[in-house]
Symmetry: C2
Subunit: 143 residues, 2 copies
DNA sequence: TTTAAAGTTGACCTTTTGGTAACCTTTGCA
DNA sequence: TGCAAAGGTTACCAAAAGGTCAACTTTAAA
């Protein structure tokens, strides 16, 4: 609890392995290997990223994946939105289903401000910045 | 995602209906009715709050529930800890299992600071302050 | 000492998320 | 032209969280 879904992390990690210019194709199998993500699960994440127009897949021999926009124009915010949907930005900190501006829970205002700050940070965190981390060998730990 | 578990909200709501001095006993059935929480589910939440020494239940006729400490000494932080366990304060924002101080994810430092701010706010948010909200009739919405 | 009021417990169901497996479709090249 | 390399898709399984049900134990009062 109190985190984005695990799949968002996987997606960020995966995208960091693509060509930042969106020119060269990279194999899904290579990403799975490099990031230590189970291939079938990676496929599902890739599907969502394609729906969100963040990447494109090319089938067949000499196929692969590529970014549809340059890495500096793709943020972790975009990725979270693609994987978890827009709903994560509206959830009450205490999980109260009826919490809203009209009937705020005690943490409503604080959480609204905090969430805005989180959102800003995630928007500023582009794939380029993430790459600095993953190039140092960041990958999923073995089970 | 990006919230405490729903049960934390239920617990906060429930506790706000107890006598703030911890003197008078209040019926679990009354709380369920007032807050619109399913009784059997409330029972499970109550069990955790008892394990955490936040409340005490007295069985039998003329039984009920009462706070073990005055309402101004019980914070939402304590309640979150009792319900979700201490783990929520250590989860990576991106949900990455291998993220730690040694091998930080790109959001690690930012999230550490933000989480500390959230923690502080929740520690300052005592049951007394919550009562101001619930006394205005806050309850769970109907299904 | 019985009984009804109260909280307690364990089994079970459902939904969501994470994860696996098998199979299908496309495409370049021998 | 057919086969192997690639991604895509569907169905399924498992664990955790949310939620329900029914039966149990404790206890004070009649």
């Amino acid at each position: 609890m109190l985190s984005l879904s695990q799949s968002v992390g996987y997606a960020v990690l995966a995208l960091a392995h693509l060509d930042p210019e969106g020119k060269q194709l990279v194999l899904a199998a290579q990403i799975a290997e490099a990031a230590n993500i189970p291939r079938p699960y990676l496929s599902k994440i890739i599907a969502k990223l394609q729906t969100a127009q963040i990447i494109e897949g090319k089938r067949g021999q000499n196929g692969g994946l590529r970014l549809l926009r340059p890495a500096e124009e793709i943020s972790v915010f975009d990725i979270a939105e693609a994987i978890d949907g827009p709903s994560w930005r509206h959830k009450c900190l205490l999980g109260l289903p009826g919490c809203s501006a009209d009937r705020p829970c005690p943490t409503h205002d604080f959480w609204g401000e905090t969430r805005a700050a989180i959102e800003t940070t995630l928007r500023e965190m582009t794939l380029n910045r993430v790459r600095a981390f993953t190039e140092a060998g960041w990958r999923m730990p073995d089970a």
